[in-house]
């Protein structure tokens, strides 16, 4: 046992990780969206990327910013919810997915990460697989409606990153989700 203790004490610092942010959790992605938003408010980002497509035309009459920043737009709906142990997309979410597909097809340099999640019930690895199936279901629909594969990345966190802390249906329904996060717009 003294071996265990001493060696583990020696090893410990060597294996401590600082998690790297490749495309990270919710906090990170929220920040990314806000940052880009303030850049494109100056409108050079939009013009530079999208040529003649003006943000005003897409966002409707009142909103002046980037369409992805318009809280009134259906594009602001970026979370798709699911039933328990299901990866079927509900009818009420199809319009939002279609809007994102349309945006992606019109903005070829835009890309998203589709992050699949589940509620806490059942086993963890199965939930990772279920979260992936949910992300893939959203991906399939986006592809079907005009997005291209290179714009779409999927990852599943299963039950590991809940949106709502709680152990009842209220929390669970918020956690069974796919989050659509724009990496580039």
């Amino acid at each position: 046992m003294n071996h265990k203790l001493l060696l583990a004490a020696v090893l410990l610092p060597a294996v401590v990780l600082s998690g790297c942010e490749t495309f990270g959790g919710q906090d990170g992605s929220d920040v990314v969206v806000e940052d880009r938003g303030t850049q494109t408010d100056g409108s050079q980002g939009v013009d530079g990327q999208d040529g003649a497509t003006s943000s005003g035309a897409q966002a409707g009459t009142a909103f002046q910013g980037h369409p992805l920043d318009n809280p009134q737009s259906i594009l602001s709906s970026r979370v798709i919810y699911f039933e328990f142990d299901s990866a079927s997309i509900r009818n009420e979410d199809r319009a939002a997915i279609q809007a994102h597909a349309q945006y992606l097809s019109q903005h070829s340099s835009a890309s998203v990460v589709l992050e699949g999640h589940t509620d806490e019930r059942g086993s963890r690895e199965y939930n990772i697989a279920l979260g992936e199936q949910r992300a893939k279901a959203v991906r399939q629909l986006l592809l079907f409606q005009g997005a291209v594969a290179s714009q779409l990345q999927t990852v599943s966190y299963g039950e590991e990153n809940p949106a709502a802390i709680g152990h009842d249906e209220d929390a669970w329904q918020q956690n069974r989700r796919v989050e659509i996060t724009y990496k580039a717009r």
């Binding site: 001493l6 020696v10 990780l17 959790g25 019930r121 059942g122 199965y126 893939k136």
Partner: protein
């Protein structure tokens, strides 16, 4: 001995340990309590061992560790120390008066003494008696060093347990588990820990701000395979747990899922889930060849493989029937030889199976009417027995002697561990001081 005394004793021993040896970071970070025991737990008296001749005191009291081990099983009822003192303090067979112990209805008696054989070297000599027959069951002496005191006590507990129950003890073992701490600004911290089977000696072997999952022991108990999201996606790693070259290596980094690693009984392969084909399938990964063999091919989810102890079957979770259920395939020389056959038919959800060490039982997460509990399926007669009464149980793992199943559950909105005997009669609760604890994996028996 009540809980308060135990706690005081542990903290006293902890202080003593810290004073005596700063290299021993021992504390009961996990506290284990019996929440339900069996009727007719066997009375045993463990007489405090003679330690009066020692020039350097032991960092821990052997007898209190042994008493805790035996009591924790729910199958023994150790006599409180003060009651023992009133009857006598024999340290060897020559001074035992069996009549005195029969009068207080003791079934078994353990006596012993510790000798100093060097500055940090000791020898313990102990004898276990059947009080009713007035006969010695076993008498053994072992050398040990100060830092191995707790381990020595667990080995004595193992012998007592085996001699009385006929089943090998599993006290001298470790448990791996994951803890999740929530921090400021929703920054979370995940740790992969190991602790002794009594909750002492917790050591963190990996820390990350991204989820850590699915620890699995190698059959020699020296390595853990696990899943880490440190790169923002799941990857499988293998890490040396105890040895000096405690390196870890990334085993897989395929597109999509890299999950649910479990070692083959001979330690040559990892079964795992990969979705690089676009769909979660089960693969075998040769640790020496670094080659993959695909075992399942089905558009549904296939995951959570577990090996039968003889390596000839693999049970996994699949929703190919519409809902998560367990399936079995036969293997010969690591090649599938039979089609997947469904094993579970009761309940809406059966997942994350674990074979008992003798291969006769399958523990699983069993979901029915919105409750997720630990159940065991008897593979001989297909009888399913639900062992727990909670609603969010997961990750069952057998003790390597097959006596208990440790699992993760939820209590007062916190993730905690619990254990239940395979017959469902003894229940233990295992708590950590802070955060959520999950995914317990009981180590194999130590190599004696």
């Amino acid at each position: 001995m009540n809980l308060g005394n135990k706690r005081q004793l542990s903290s006293f021993l902890l202080m003593l340990a810290l004073l005596l040896s700063f290299a021993t970071p021992a504390s009961a970070v996990l506290t284990i309590q019996i929440t339900k025991g069996v009727d007719g737990a066997q009375p045993i008296a463990v007489v405090p061992f003679a330690t009066d001749k020692l020039t350097n005191a032991l960092p821990y009291d052997l007898v209190s560790i042994i008493n805790n081990d035996l009591a924790r099983t729910g199958r023994f009822s150790p006599m409180p120390a003060k009651d023992i003192k009133a009857i006598g303090s024999p340290h060897d067979g020559g001074t035992v008066r069996f009549g005195d112990w029969r009068l207080v209805n003791m079934d078994y008696l353990l006596v012993g003494r510790v000798r100093q054989t060097g500055a940090i070297n000791y020898e313990v000599q102990f004898q276990l008696f059947d009080v009713f027959k007035g006969e010695q069951i076993t008498g053994i002496s072992y050398p040990f060093v100060a830092n191995d005191t707790r381990r020595m006590a667990h080995r004595i507990s193992d012998i007592v347990y085996e001699k009385i129950t006929g089943q090998r003890g599993a006290f001298d073992t470790s448990i791996a588990y994951v803890t999740a701490l929530s921090g400021l600004n929703n920054k979370r911290k995940f740790k992969l820990n190991i602790a002794d089977s009594d909750g002492f000696n917790e050591q963190t072997i990996l820390e990350s701000s991204k989820p850590l999952m699915s620890p699995s022991w190698s059959p020699d108990g020296q390595q853990l395979a696990y899943v880490s999201f440190e790169a923002g996606r799941p990857q499988i790693f293998v890490q040396q747990v105890f040895s000096s070259n405690g390196q870890r290596q990334r085993v897989t980094d395929y597109a999509g899922l890299n999950g649910a690693p479990v070692w083959s009984p001979d330690g040559q392969y990892l079964a795992m889930t990969l979705s690089k084909s676009g769909n979660p399938e089960i693969y075998l990964y040769g640790l020496a060849s670094k080659k993959l063999t695909q075992l399942t091919r089905h558009p549904a989810i296939d995951t959570e493989p577990t090996w039968s102890p003889d390596g000839k079957q693999l049970v996994f979770t699949s929703d190919r029937g519409g809902k998560a259920q367990l399936y079995r395939i036969g293997l010969s020389r690591y090649k599938p030889v039979s089609k997947a056959r469904r094993l579970t038919f009761e309940g809406d959800y059966n997942a994350r199976a674990a074979f008992s060490p003798d291969g006769s039982l399958l523990a699983m997460v069993h979901g029915t009417r919105g409750r997720f509990q630990i159940a065991v399926l008897d593979l001989a007669n297909n009888a399913l027995q639900v062992l727990t009464d909670s609603r969010l149980d997961e990750s069952p793992s057998f003790a390597p002697n097959g006596s208990m199943i440790i699992y993760a559950t939820n209590r007062n909105n916190r993730g905690v561990l619990a254990a239940v005997s395979v017959d469902g009669r003894v229940h233990q609760r295992i708590e950590v001081q802070q955060g959520d604890v999950r995914e317990p994996a009981w180590s194999p028996l130590s190599q004696r």
